[in-house]
């Protein structure tokens, strides 16, 4: 029975926010790799990964560009947990009409992470240049039928997925607890 099931490869980039040093090498290199032709210019504003950084609250969260949202969403919540404030809008991977994150600076067109599949470089560029180890790349096989929800939620078990599933407050709480434990 099992053998008959179709297998598919899941590609995911895992994020360990505690390891991020804020170097933005990921943003810089993603923008260069996706320049036309590749590597001919640099502009982090064109990156498909964007590090949400707030030095005053020790927030360092790399987010990759997800789908384009045609309208602004209704949810604009602000959470304060352990003295750190989080805005759902800041952590959202969608390019949407209300902000410039994940939009091409000149055309305003949405940017989307393509897992560097267009580039034939092995592991995604952002992962390759992330020496502090905040980003890591994982590939594994799953049965096709079981992966329907994963497919929709992108190929990572990342922030967007977790936030959708557990709510931002829960995710942030967990991150804060993890940060405390590892300190």
């Amino acid at each position: 029975m099992k053998e008959n099931k179709k297998m598919k490869t899941i590609k995911e980039i895992r994020v360990d926010v505690n390891k991020c040093n804020g170097c933005l090498s990921c943003e810089m290199s993603c923008s260069a790799a996706h320049a036309m032709p590749p590597y001919t210019s640099v502009n982090p504003a064109r990156s498909r990964i964007s590090v949400v950084m707030d030095e005053t609250k020790d927030v360092y969260i790399p987010i990759r560009a997800g789908d384009y949202a045609e309208a602004e969403c209704a949810g604009r919540n602000q959470y304060t947990i352990d003295g750190k404030e989080y805005d759902t809008c800041l952590l959202c991977p969608a390019s949407c009409p209300s902000r410039s994150r994940f939009t091409e600076p000149d055309s305003g067109l949405p940017l989307k992470c393509d897992m560097c599949e267009s580039l034939d470089i092995g592991e995604p560029m952002c992962v390759q240049v992330c020496h502090p180890g905040a980003l890591s790349y994982h590939e594994y096989q799953v049965e096709a039928e079981d992966s329907v929800t994963l497919e929709r939620g992108e190929k990572e078990i990342g922030l967007e997925y977790l936030v959708k599933r557990y709510g931002l407050e829960e995710v942030v709480k967990t991150v804060a607890t993890m940060a405390k434990k590892s300190a």
Binding site: N18, C20, N21, G22, C23, L24, S25, M28, S29, A32, A35, P37, P38, Y39, T40, S41, V42, N43, P44, A45, R46, S50, V52, M53, D54, E55, T56, K57, D58, Y60, L90, S100, R101, P105, Q128, V129, H131, P132, A179, A183
Partner: protein
């Protein structure tokens, strides 16, 4: 097409509110590269020797290094230059982080501020849109507080901000400019305050072009990995918790007391626990895999960060432990104060109190305990309250303004600037020259390529020089092989070594490389990431400028001589080039002066420390020579 640089400076006249985007001359890039190099050309051309630091005519220049924003890892320094109210000389300052890179993406290599705003303002730069905005609502705000506030006000968490705190607003001479986890000190903070600019916020979303980008990208990808793995780059103090080096060898209090056996295993363990119990993370700067900034949360304080020796200065000035540094750094950072010189000013004040030159009446409300007293005096300085108004001018000026014998207690300044508190036995010829002739005011910005100490055995030396890629010339290997005692080195070798040390800093300050990956780090371990051999290739691929190693060395000489010329024109002479008298217990005036003479000659300077006409002509600085002649600078010096 300009590569690596944008080819434009942003000129802001704060008096008139005039804003201009000015194209720059590519010939100047060839001559001075960028960063401090091209900034000094502007200071030379536009700010005469009669200009007071606190005046509309003084300029405050933020420069992005030539390689900033390119693929070259560790190139991210923003160099800030002006004339310092403390020294009345050229101010060299810089900060890491993101600011200079953001400037490039906004389309500017430099931000040049002139004039004075009629009231407190902040400057918002978003690509081509530049506005001078009212900042009355930001007055008195702490440095991280104002950055946070402006990000929200501007609705953009990617905006990069350089700001002053209350110390800068009140023109405290030791005030700094703060940005992210970085800080620019040594004279620039009070000038920003004098210009009434609370903050500059920059957001840039333009492409940056390079001459050979594909090649450079891949070379830099490997370099970045090497850099991440290279223990010879970055701040080792971020990971090595043994800080006996500073605590056993540097002086405590008002640069007075050495505690040779202070450090112990027990202490190290206790301090390590304090650090890791309160550290949120370690961060780096743009495009650098290192983690040099220790980010600390301390109860009741704003989150702060420090790097390197910055954690030792307050606890050593006050004879306290690490927890005191942590207790006060968060406050001092919000005020925007240099952590190297400020604690010395406070320790100086406390010494005057002990000696009866100042009395408790000078410090109304003074607490009993030393910690309380540090905080109290810090507040008085920042608010320029009572005696704090004099102390706010740094040790040199405060001593003279207080008088009554206070001058004697100003024993650790050179060129009116507080030096790193090191008091040793016998004169070290290399450090003598560096402290005497350096124009960056802090030894950490001058020393760095040649090791501080010899190795004991020939085998160890051989192994060291065999792996030593950074040396510009084989002769340095010979010097090292033959070096037996720290303080004994032939004068010719000393001149070469000091020159090399300076060279790398001047190159870094032009191209924006961090000293921790280049100029500062060779003295500890020898294996820097960048050196005179690999930098020219990177400059070529980034900017298109084809410089040989020799050409690059000549840019250093040109930039070095230009700083010297700027200061000579403001009156600096041989007599000013003296390390603190008690820097070494045993001095040898005759030897020191003959060494200084030899160095001047080596540098192509007169015996009064003035670049000779031949030196200036050789370096394409004939306009400087002509200016010197017109002013009679050579004839007066005879």
């Amino acid at each position: 097409m300009r590569y690596a640089e944008t080819g434009f400076n942003l000129e802001i006249d704060l008096t008139r509110g005039n804003i201009e985007r000015v194209a720059t001359d590519p010939e100047l890039t060839k001559l001075y590269l960028g960063g401090q190099g091209t900034a000094d050309k502007i200071l030379w051309d536009r700010v005469g020797p009669e200009v007071e630091p606190f005046s509309e005519e003084n300029l405050l220049i933020f420069s992005s290094g030539l390689l900033n924003g390119t693929f070259v890892p560790g190139a991210n320094r923003t160099i800030v230059n002006t004339f310092s109210p403390q020294t009345n000389l050229h101010a060299h300052s810089m900060m890491g982080g993101y600011f200079g890179v953001e400037m490039k993406h906004a389309g500017y290599d430099k931000i040049i501020l002139s004039g004075k705003a009629p009231k407190l303002v902040y400057i918002y730069i978003h690509n081509d849109n530049v506005e001078i905005r009212d900042a009355s609502h930001l007055a008195g705000m702490g440095t991280t507080e104002v950055q946070d506030h402006l990000k929200k006000e501007l609705g953009d968490d990617k905006v990069q901000i350089a700001a002053i705190g209350l110390a800068g607003e009140n023109r405290v001479y030791t005030a700094s400019i703060e940005h992210s986890h970085c800080s620019a000190s040594r004279g620039v903070g009070p000038v920003m305050g004098d210009k009434r600019v609370k903050a500059i916020a920059v957001r840039g979303t333009k492409d940056l072009q390079m001459a050979e980008p594909e090649k450079l990208f891949h070379i830099c990808k490997d370099l970045r990995k090497d850099l991440a793995d290279n223990p010879g780059a970055g701040d080792w103090m971020a990971v090595d918790e043994d800080d006996g080096f500073h605590h056993d060898n540097f002086s405590w209090g008002n640069a007075r007391v050495r505690q040779k056996n202070y450090w112990s295993d027990e202490l190290q363990q206790r301090w390590t626990d304090i650090k890791y119990d309160h550290m949120d993370r370690q961060t780096g700067c743009y495009n650098c895999p290192k983690k040099c900034h220790n980010v600390i949360s301390w109860p009741g304080r704003k989150r702060f960060s420090y790097k390197c020796f910055g954690k030792d200065t307050y606890n050593m000035a006050s004879f306290q432990e690490l927890d005191f540094s942590y207790e006060i750094l968060g406050v001092a950072q919000e005020y925007g104060l240099d952590s190297y010189s400020t604690p010395q000013v406070i320790a100086f004040a406390l010494e005057l109190l002990e000696e009866g030159i100042l009395t408790l009446d000078d410090f109304p409300g003074m607490p009993e305990d030393i910690r309380g007293r540090f905080f109290h005096i810090l507040d008085m300085i920042v608010n320029r309250e009572g005696i704090g108004d004099k102390l706010a001018n740094g040790v040199y000026w405060a001593a003279r303004q207080i008088g009554n014998g206070a001058e004697k207690f100003d024993h650790n300044t050179t060129k009116k600037f507080e030096q790193v508190p090191i008091k040793l036995g016998k004169v070290n010829p290399m450090f003598f020259l560096m402290i005497a002739t350096g124009e960056k005011m802090n030894i950490t910005q001058i020393e760095g390529s040649f090791p501080q100490d010899p190795l004991p055995t020939l085998e160890e030396r051989q192994a060291f020089v065999d792996a030593w890629e950074a040396v510009p010339d084989e002769k340095f290997k010979k010097y090292f092989m033959e070096w037996e005692r720290r303080n004994e080195m032939p004068s010719g070798a000393v001149c070469d070594i000091v020159d090399w040390n300076e060279a790398m800093h001047y190159i870094d300050d032009a191209i924006g490389l961090c000293a921790f990956v280049s100029s500062f780090r060779g003295q500890f371990g020898g294996k820097t990431q960048y050196n005179i051999h690999n930098i020219p290739d990177l400059i070529r691929m980034a900017s298109g400028l084809d410089l040989s190693k020799e050409d690059l060395w000549n840019v250093f000489r040109r930039n070095r001589n230009l700083v010297r010329a700027i200061n000579v024109r403001r009156g600096m002479r041989r007599a000013d080039e003296r390390p603190p008298e008690d820097h070494w217990a045993v001095r040898d005036e005759e030897f020191e002066q003959s060494l200084l003479s030899a160095y001047y000659e080596f540098k192509g300077w007169t015996q009064d420390g003035i670049p000779t006409p031949a030196t200036l002509d050789e370096l394409a600085l004939s306009d400087v020579r002509e200016d010197f002649e017109k002013r009679g600078i050579y004839s007066a010096a005879q």
